[in-house]
């Protein structure tokens, strides 16, 4: 059945070299990276810090230009950023001068959507991220977790083909992070968007994904691509089940080698 459907996103032998200068050598951040994502998949990319996973996401978003290789969305080659790929950044990416509802409809203003319909969309996504009552608040009045919920709503309100998240819960405390993971999974189960999620947290990568892609560090390459066969919906208690722990052990081992390698290199 999967053979029938066409891939949503294809990353084909993408390489990224950051040009150095007199004092610094060129850095090969990504080396011949290939990844195919099918519609409605939730992919997490797991890797140690500095492995180029964010670079890969930024290339997909069009915010960074690859040195070689191509990226296709629904078979169309991508050049530069566009609203068909929604992005959620690590933190502080909300427009501080706009209220919660104004932030959410920021992307809608460039589209041919009437005010009434826009209001309806905003209401729907505020409800989805459970921020009823905070419509008129400014970002600085919200906690970090609430801000990230607005960022997710803002990206989704634009109805992108794929949702890209760059360690969106990395700056949050543990309890908030867990709640946000549950919320994001719930949203995905409802909307079935294609999602590409970057993280360095093993547990997070398993809990959210139906495929975990492990990356090597320097140069970034895809080391393993592991399907997660856990049923949906996934309660948070799934994190202590034997099946989950088995994945955790396997991935921890894989990522540990890379982290050690990365640590040595920085020295």
């Amino acid at each position: 059945m999967k053979l029938m459907s066409k891939p949503k996103l294809e990353i084909k032998s993408v390489t990224k070299v950051f040009a150095g200068n007199k004092n610094r050598a060129n850095v090969l951040a990504l080396d011949q990276t290939n990844l195919t994502i099918m519609p409605n998949e939730f992919i997490t990319i797991l890797g140690p810090s500095g492995c180029g996973k964010s670079t890969l996401l930024r290339i997909v978003a069009g915010l960074e230009e690859q040195t070689t290789g191509d990226v296709f969305l629904d078979g169309q080659e991508l050049f530069g950023p566009s609203s068909n790929r929604g992005m959620v950044f690590q933190a502080y990416s909300l427009f501080p001068w706009l209220t919660v509802e104004e932030n959410i409809q920021f992307g809608l203003k460039t589209k041919e959507i009437g005010a009434g319909e826009r209001k309806e969309i905003v209401r729907k996504y505020i409800e989805l991220v459970q921020l009823e009552g905070f419509e008129k608040h400014y970002p600085r009045q919200l906690s970090g977790g609430m801000q990230q919920r607005v960022a997710i709503a803002r990206a989704l309100a634009n109805d992108p083909e794929i949702l890209l998240l760059d360690e969106p819960f990395g700056a949050l405390d543990n309890q908030t992070r867990t709640l946000m993971q549950e919320l994001l999974l719930e949203i995905w189960e409802k909307s079935h968007k294609t999602v590409l999620f970057i993280t360095h947290d093993v547990e997070e990568s398993i809990y959210l994904a139906n495929r975990v892609v492990v990356m090597t560090s320097r140069p970034g390459r895809i080391k393993a691509d592991i399907p997660i066969e856990l049923e949906h919906p996934r309660p948070y208690s799934i994190k202590v089940e034997p099946k989950f722990l088995a994945y955790k052990e396997q991935l921890t081992e894989l990522i540990r080698e890379e982290s050690l390698k990365a640590m040595m290199e920085i020295k």
């Binding site: 530069g80 950023p81 950044f89 502080y92 909300l94 427009f95 001068w97 706009l98 920021f106 460039t110």
Partner: protein, 290 residues
């Protein structure tokens, strides 16, 4: 906030509480001298008021006892008298008006030209590369040093005064605005791109609103500088304005008028600053306060 909570926890700890009781006699004074520690609001205001009272007390002591020649420093009451005669007999209000007019004219022209230029320099490296060297160099040439040149070029009329204010404000304004605009967080621009905004669209929808509070603060600062430039301009060659009154009073040994003139400029500068400050806070609720 977190820090405060922790302090509270520590303070309420029974072991520490008992210790505090033992040394309670010295506790308050120790708090005053603790670096960066807060003091009670009433104490703060009290100290502030006493400094002003002290100033007047020393002033009165020096003048009323005759320790200082009234020619150098008149008594506070005499200065108030000079002020009243200035308004009633010498039409001081016209001098104030003409000085305000010159400051605002020069400042507003600098803003009208400098603001767009600064925004473009902060946004586009091409524009920055073209204007930066020239503006940076002129910025360090003091506006007051240009006065003889301007008198030579355009005479001693209003245009010369306004030009001095313009030169004094414009170059710093452009560079400071350019830096402010250049500091807009990259994430905000990137977020706007992924939400479908074009490269030029972000200028209006992100760069301008994000840097506006900072720009207004810069304008406030520069207006403050303009007040000191106008007096220099009026001291050198002018028949009207607060600066020329100060100079004339010096020639006639009217020390009271000089001091009253200086105080007037201070009050005007302070007033314009406070008005702008309040307007800025009101205009950007998302940036200041809740």
């Amino acid at each position: 906030m977190e820090k405060a909570a922790k302090t509270e926890e520590i303070v309420n700890h029974p072991a520490i509480l008992s210790k505090q009781k033992l040394g309670s006699g010295t506790r308050k004074s120790r708090n005053w001298l603790q670096p960066q520690a807060a003091i009670p609001h009433r104490l703060y205001v009290g100290i502030s008021i006493s400094s002003i009272v002290l100033l007047f007390a020393v002033w009165s002591l020096l003048t009323y006892t005759g320790m200082v020649d009234p020619l150098f420093l008149p008594t506070p009451v005499e200065i108030v008298h000079s002020g009243i005669t200035l308004f009633t007999e010498y039409g001081f209000i016209n001098d104030i008006g003409i000085t305000i007019y010159r400051v605002l004219a020069g400042f507003l022209i600098a803003v009208v030209i400098g603001l767009p230029l600064g925004i473009l320099m902060g946004t586009f490296k091409v524009v920055e590369a073209f204007f930066e060297p020239m503006i940076s160099a002129i910025r360090y040439m003091p506006a007051s040093a240009f006065i003889p040149l301007f008198i030579l070029w355009i005479g001693v009329g209003e245009l010369e005064k306004i030009t001095i204010i313009f030169v004094g404000s414009f170059f710093s304004l452009v560079l400071m605005v350019a830096v402010e605009v250049g500091n807009v967080r990259r994430e905000l621009l990137e977020a706007a791109y992924t939400l479908g905004r074009s490269k030029l669209g972000v200028l209006r929808s992100v760069i301008l609103p994000a840097s506006l509070p900072g720009i207004m603060e810069i304008l406030r600062l520069i207006l403050g500088w303009a007040w000191s430039y106008i007096i220099v301009a009026e001291l050198v060659a002018s028949a009207s304005g607060i600066g020329s009154l100060i100079l004339e009073s010096q020639r006639m040994l009217k020390t009271g008028n000089i001091i009253f003139g200086i105080a007037t400029i201070g009050v005007l500068g302070l007033l314009s600053d406070i008005i702008l400050k309040i307007c800025i806070k009101k205009a950007f609720p998302w940036h200041y306060g809740r």
